[in-house]
């Protein structure tokens, strides 16, 4: 009884959240069929190609084909690795810069300089620094992804309510306590905005890194390969795959965010 109620509620919630998906896909299908352009295949064709590329495997493996395992695992592994590194580094450095004017003075120009440099133009540098392909790709991802986390962390840590900081000082909280108990929670809403931005960016950089890092398998490689083979359904399929991955990653991220920031959401609600 209660089970069904809970399930019913969850189903309804899911329907409320996802009803746009079929609508958008239907409109897309109709528009693509009407346009009849090789460049804009309809979603049905894209899906068919997608299945052919990656999802023709056995059901026991979630239909993932060998190609999918070969493409997804290394790609996603590098992506998560790069994202995690960028998040840790970005938050650590960002909070340090946000709280220390001296440090900010020294590194601000470097950061603002670095932010504006397209990762592909740094291939020579990455080649000499990292030699191996995989490390170079992770470096590219970190380089491209770290900025939103860093900049939002600086912002969050710098603009903590003065009274919070003063309270911490007055009660003699240690540096570590001030950081973990006051500054990080206060900056968390902004840091999370940065993390959320960087998560999708990590997928993009995964592609860019595979292009720059001369990958011979992976999702980005597949995108390049289909594009250069004029395999438009395949290219669209790869793009759609990225989109779906982005949606899934983001949904999981929001679950974590909602947990962590529940105080913020509830405190900020106008009754």
């Amino acid at each position: 009884m209660t089970m069904t109620v809970a399930n019913g509620g969850r189903l309804r919630g899911l329907a409320l959240r996802l009803w746009t998906v079929p609508v958008v896909v239907a409109v897309w299908e109709a528009a693509a069929r009407a346009a009849e352009s090789v460049y804009f295949p309809p979603p049905s064709a894209i899906l068919a190609r997608l299945r052919e590329l990656w999802f023709s495997g056995p059901p026991a493996r979630l239909f993932l084909s060998d190609a999918a395992l070969a493409d997804f695992l290394p790609s996603l592994g590098r992506m998560f690795g790069g994202w995690a590194l960028a998040c840790l580094g970005g938050i650590a450095l960002g909070v340090a810069i946000g709280r220390s004017k001296t440090l900010a003075g020294y590194v601000d120009p470097l950061i603002e300089f670095g932010r504006a440099i397209p990762p592909p133009t740094l291939i020579p540098l990455f080649v000499v620094l990292f030699k191996a392909d995989a490390r170079m790709q992770v470096a590219t991802i970190v380089y491209g992804v770290v900025w939103p986390v860093l900049v939002n962390s600086v912002d969050g840590a710098r603009y903590v309510d003065r009274l919070h900081i003063e309270t911490a000082r007055v009660f003699g909280l240690s540096r570590a306590e001030r950081l973990t108990r006051v500054i990080l929670p206060a900056a968390a809403p902004k840091i999370f905005a940065g993390l959320r931005l960087s998560l999708s960016l990590a997928l993009i950089l995964m592609v860019v890194a595979e292009l720059a890092g001369s990958a011979t398998s992976g999702i980005g490689y597949e995108l390049l390969y289909t594009q250069q083979n004029f395999d438009l359904p395949g290219m669209w399929g790869t793009i759609a795959l990225l989109g779906v991955l982005g949606f899934l990653l983001n949904s999981s991220f929001l679950v974590v965010e909602r947990r962590t920031l529940s105080w913020h959401r509830r405190a900020g609600r106008t009754k």
Binding site: W19, F40, D161, L203
Partner: protein, 257 residues
């Protein structure tokens, strides 16, 4: 005060450059692949006198500015709308989250197909990539508004729009501007990447293609240095605007300037 900040910044840059130069000269970095820092800097300085390159810079800056402006004009209202209408946000979230991880460079051939003018194509991909930071920061900024401040407006009988314009937006503005600062560099990166991948009549990326095809790694990096410098200048301008506009924001946090 300002002087010491500039001095510190210069010191930071100098340390990095010296380190890079030393690494190159001691053979730690293979200069065959990665030219010496001094070579690159000399090249970058030389570019200042290259009228053709300056033309490229202005071409890039033009599409960049147009793209950033459009992205901001598009994303701020969209962020405000989604941030204040939770239902719309829930409904559109799958679409947005589907679109965000699509690399704008992958869209270049498709956009090139529709946009006849090279500039339009670039501006389109720039807008596509640059609107996300503004959108996300706007949405998060909107959630960070003090409910008592909003209640105050409501109590005096102001409608939703007035509350939005007079309390929610000003209060979220500093964080929106941070999003714009993020977008500014994203736009520059995408502008140059688009030029690298799609070419065009001019642009820093086009210059890099030209330098690359002539096997002039030093010039490629010299042009890249210019990209960084542009980012630096743009950010400095935006930070100055922020200081002027949002003095209250810094004061509340006890950040003295």
């Amino acid at each position: 005060m300002i002087l010491s900040r500039v001095a510190r910044g210069a010191a930071g840059v100098a340390v990095l450059l010296v380190a890079a130069e030393v690494a190159g000269r001691t053979g730690l970095l293979d200069t065959q692949i990665m030219p010496l820092a001094s070579t690159v800097l000399a090249g970058a300085a030389g570019l200042a006198a290259d009228s053709e390159f300056l033309h490229d810079v202005s071409a890039t800056v033009e599409v960049w500015a147009e793209g950033l402006l459009l992205a901001t004009l598009l994303a701020v209202p969209a962020g405000v709308l989604l941030g204040s209408l939770p239902r719309a946000e829930t409904a559109l979230r799958p679409v947005i989250e589907f679109l965000r991880p699509i690399p704008s460079v992958a869209l270049i051939p498709l956009v090139a197909l529709i946009a006849a003018a090279d500039g339009t194509m670039k501006v389109t991909v720039i807008v596509y990539a640059a609107c996300w930071p503004v959108l996300v920061n706007t949405m998060y900024g909107l959630h960070d508004v003090d409910p008592v401040a909003k209640d105050t407006m409501r109590v005096f009988g102001f409608g939703r729009l007035a509350v939005l314009l007079r309390v929610t937006l000003p209060s979220a503005a500093p964080f929106v501007l941070t999003g714009v600062r993020l977008a500014a560099s994203v736009a520059l990166v995408v502008a140059i990447s688009a030029e690298l991948l799609a070419g065009g009549e001019g642009g820093i990326g086009v210059y890099i293609v030209r330098a690359g095809s002539g096997y002039r790694i030093d010039l490629m990096l010299a042009a890249t240095v210019w990209a960084g410098l542009i980012g630096l200048v743009v950010n400095a301008l935006l930070v100055r605007a922020e200081r002027g506009l949002f003095r209250w924001h810094a004061a509340r946090a006890g950040v003295t300037q």
